[in-house]
């Protein structure tokens, strides 16, 4: 093997009492793809942020082509050929694609931006790697997948030779993810070196040459892809065997929530087209579909943040109008939103504040218009203990939690009071194996206790493991339900592609 392009030597980083990286060493060769695995909060993002100069390490050094990189200087890292695609994209939605890519690439004090040359270069790169974009488009108008493409292009535009991708597939659909990995492999063939972070063992096994596992800030294993297995990796990550829980048969109770031919229009576009379903107590109804087919509208409708245009909603058999958020919370509906950073928590506020926010006016948390801090703190502490939220105390700012731990906090906030209905949108997105198992166990426990769970997901395995019945959502339409016993990956895959429509509505068939 040739000399490595990147060497990380004994890097350590501490946040307060929390040792996020503990003496980690790692090398990367030209044209190699390394996957970085680890539980939520294991320190993966921290390590990559140090490499990129966002964070300053407490100890250790980073060498690129044998030359040491000055710590804490993104500019130096960029110049040395390091590019990073962030877990939370760092793009400006109001600026154009080209502007996003060009920022900081020219001498700051020059009289003119070389816009047309930059456009040419960008198009050439996008051609070479098969990443199609429109340089003039406003970034905020692009889909998540396209935005990610811009992030990658941004790195390539800076002539990156080492590309770091932090959970690139967490927000992508399966098809987009497959395309992404094809692109990454092509990049590696062209001599780029890549490190990617992922929780999805399938894609790690399929795409990586080598796999590095972190746990609790320490590096616990290095494996080549050919000499390991999914089961071994899962065990290495969590430090014990993990098995996802499975659903036990049960008899559901009365119908808790029913939708009859509900249509939702946003800005004149029908996001939900006359959908019908019913959800019973003690069952999990899975809504499967490729993201962007109306899931967001459905979740928002049931969370009280969106009004329907027509159709009926029945809550425990009673017709309801367009409920507001307060009504929804009051009726005992728990909600796990799809985008936890945007809708789930307020990052700048403390964990305890987020824990009680939804029910701040409840007598447990406030009296005479005054917030009862102590009760809030105690409640947050309970959630932290019961739901194994790691990386923060009730008083620390929520933004500092890793994605998985944030999700556990939201889950805890909702499940703690045994909701009668739970709307869970992509509840396991971005979570590690251990956390996925924990979340699934909680959902099943809620089901056992009689909660009616609506599980909106694009993960086939998840839906097959948890749901009693499954309906597919395609282009705002909902398929008729199939019993879990009759569902398998093939059948659900066909449903997600809209196959059921042909038989039911011949006029819509192609």
């Amino acid at each position: 093997m040739t000399s490595p392009v990147l060497e990380i030597e004994g890097v350590s980083k501490r946040f307060g009492a929390n040792l996020a990286n503990d003496d980690i060493s790692l090398t990367l060769a030209k044209g190699e793809i390394v996957a970085l695995l680890g539980e939520n909060g294991a320190g993966k993002t921290t390590l990559m942020s140090i490499l990129f100069g966002h964070y300053m390490q407490d100890a250790g050094r980073i060498l690129i082509d044998g030359a040491e990189l000055p710590p804490g200087k993104p500019r130096a890292a960029i110049r040395a050929g390091v590019g990073m695609v962030h877990q939370h994209f760092s793009l400006a939605p109001n600026l154009s694609v080209l502007e996003n890519v060009m920022t900081g690439t020219e001498k700051l004090w020059s009289w003119r931006s070389g816009t047309s040359a930059a456009r040419k270069k960008l198009l050439a790169i996008s051609e070479r790697f098969g990443l199609k974009v429109d340089p003039g488009a406003r970034l905020g108008d692009l889909s998540v997948g396209e935005q990610q493409r811009v992030e990658i292009l941004k790195a390539l535009y800076n002539d990156a030779r080492i590309l770091i991708l932090d959970e690139p597939t967490a927000v992508l659909t399966n098809i987009e993810a497959e395309k992404l990995f094809a692109t990454l492999k092509q990049m590696a063939r062209q001599g780029l070196s890549l490190i990617f972070i992922s929780h999805k063992l399938d894609e790690v096994m399929a795409a990586a040459d080598r796999i590095v596992v972190l746990r609790g800030g320490k590096m616990v294993a290095k494996r080549t892809a050919s000499e390991t297995s999914k089961a071994e990796l899962a065990e290495l990550m969590v430090g014990r065997r993990v098995t996802r829980p499975v659903r036990e048969p049960s008899t559901p109770g009365a119908v808790a929530l029913e939708a009859a031919e509900v249509t939702v229009k946003i800005d004149g576009v029908e996001r939900l087209k006359s959908i019908s379903f019913h959800l019973r107590e003690g069952e999990i109804l899975g809504i499967i579909g490729v993201s962007g087919n109306g899931q967001a509208a459905l979740a928002h409708l049931l969370s009280g943040t969106l009004s329907r245009t027509s159709g009926d909603l029945l809550l425990f058999g009673e017709a309801i109008g367009n409920p507001g958020v307060a009504d929804v919370v009051g009726a005992g509906i728990g909600r796990i939103p799809e985008d936890r950073n945007e809708e789930g928590v307020i990052g700048e506020m403390a964990i305890w504040e987020n824990a009680v926010l939804e029910r701040i006016s409840a007598s447990a948390f406030s009296q005479h218009g005054l917030v009862n801090r102590k009760a809030g703190m105690a409640f947050a502490k309970q959630i932290i203990d019961q739901f194994d939220v790691r990386g923060g105390s009730p008083a620390s700012r929520t933004r500092l939690l890793s994605g998985g731990n944030m999700q556990k906090l939201i889950l805890g906030r909702n499940l703690h009071r045994r909701p009668r209905i739970l709307i869970a949108a992509q509840p396991a997105r971005g979570l590690d194996e251990g956390a996925v198992a924990a979340v699934h166990a909680r959902l099943l426990e809620a089901r056992r206790q009689g909660t009616a769970v609506l599980l909106i997901s694009e993960d086939l395995d998840e839906v097959i493991a948890l749901a009693d019945r499954v309906q597919a959502i395609v282009g705002g339409r909902l398929s008729p339900p199939v019993e879990a016993e009759a569902a398998n990956a093939r059948k659900l895959g066909l449903m997600m592609a809209g196959e059921w429509q042909e038989t039911r509505e011949p006029d819509h068939a192609l």
């Binding site: 990129f52 966002h54 964070y55 300053m56 993104p74 500019r75 960029i78 110049r79 990073m84 962030h86 939370h88 760092s90 793009l91 400006a92 939605p93 109001n94 600026l95 502007e99 996003n100 060009m102 920022t103 900081g104 690439t105 020219e106 001498k107 700051l108 004090w109 020059s110 009289w111 003119r112 931006s113 941004k154 800076n158 933004r399 500092l400």
Partner: protein, 313 residues
């Protein structure tokens, strides 16, 4: 009705529009620059007051007019430094820091003013900027005397508006400023230091505010009195929103407001039987209406008023 037409057709009105607009143009551009980098600068009202005072004082003590304007700009920049220290380095609330700067700068101006003019009598006057007739253009009928016979700072203000538009949208520096106002983390990830950009933008923006204030004492009028800024700073803050954070539209907005103002001034004398306060109110009412219409489509810099802390997500 003919009264209205007479007013609109008068050269005096249009000459006044540019004169009234000039401090607003300076101030609005200054506030706009700060906000494009993500910092709301409510220090503007005080900074304009201080600029008016220090510009006048310098000239009164023998500096020439341009030096006075420069000193006002530097003084504005110093207050900008203070504001960025509070909001960028310390990450304090931009509202509170800005109001603090305004209170401090206004009182400080008054204090210095009273040191120089201890008694209540009329403050000493200076010889202000004189109108410059632009050769060739000033002789045009109507347009000439209205638009091309202004004082030098007015031409400068228009020039600065065009320059700022060019810098923001055509140069790498401008892109860095806009990116910092939209997403400082992204700017940082691209090797731009958002802290430095914010400092620079706030200091330069505050310097413009200082110049806007100085225009009042060095050109529009020939003396200083402590209440002379009269809420112009706040108008500028509103004009930035009206302009959707674009220098060209800021120029237009300032002219529009100035037009309303000049118009109502003349109406006051031309129309009997209506309390003059009604007329006084109209430019503000119209501004609110215009703001309500325009602001709905405005694209606010996404990171406006968000402190940037390094090494945090």
């Amino acid at each position: 009705m003919t009264v209205l037409f007479d007013i609109i057709a008068s050269v005096g009105l249009w000459g006044a529009v540019l004169r009234i607009a000039t401090p607003l143009i300076f101030g609005t551009l200054g506030a706009l620059l700060c906000e494009r980098a993500g910092v709301l600068n409510l220090g503007i009202e005080g900074i304009m007051t201080f600029g008016a005072m220090i510009g006048w004082l310098s000239v009164y003590h023998g500096a020439d007019l341009w030096t006075g304007l420069l000193i006002a700009a530097i003084a504005g920049g110093v207050f900008g430094l203070l504001h960025s220290g509070l909001t960028v380095t310390l990450g304090l609330s931009q509202h509170v820091a800005g109001l603090g700067v305004t209170l401090f700068a206004s009182s400080f101006s008054y204090y210095v003013f009273r040191l120089i003019v201890p008694t209540a009598g009329t403050p000493p006057t200076i010889v202000p900027f004189q109108p410059i007739a632009i050769p060739g253009l000033s002789t045009l009928p109507f347009i000439g005397p209205a638009f091309f016979t202004q004082t030098a700072p007015t031409y400068l203000a228009i020039l600065i508006a065009l320059t700022l538009a060019y810098i923001l949208f055509r140069t790498p520096l401008g892109l860095a400023i806009r990116m910092t106002g939209e997403n400082p983390h992204a700017a940082e990830a691209q090797g731009v230091n958002p802290m430095k950009v914010r400092y620079g933008a706030v200091i330069a923006g505050s310097a413009l505010m200082g110049m806007g204030g100085a225009f009042l004492t060095l050109s529009a009028f020939n003396s200083f009195f402590p209440t002379m800024v009269q809420g112009r700073g706040w108008i500028c803050i509103a004009l930035v929103v009206f302009a959707s954070w674009r220098p060209g539209r800021a120029l237009f907005g300032a002219l529009l407001f100035a037009f309303f103002d000049a118009f109502q001034l003349r109406l006051q004398t031309a129309v009997d039987g209506v309390p003059y306060q009604i007329f006084l109110m109209t430019p503000y009412v119209l501004s609110i209406v215009a703001l309500a219409v325009m602001a709905r489509r405005a694209r606010v810099p996404q990171a406006l008023m968000q402190p940037y802390r390094r090494g945090e997500r």
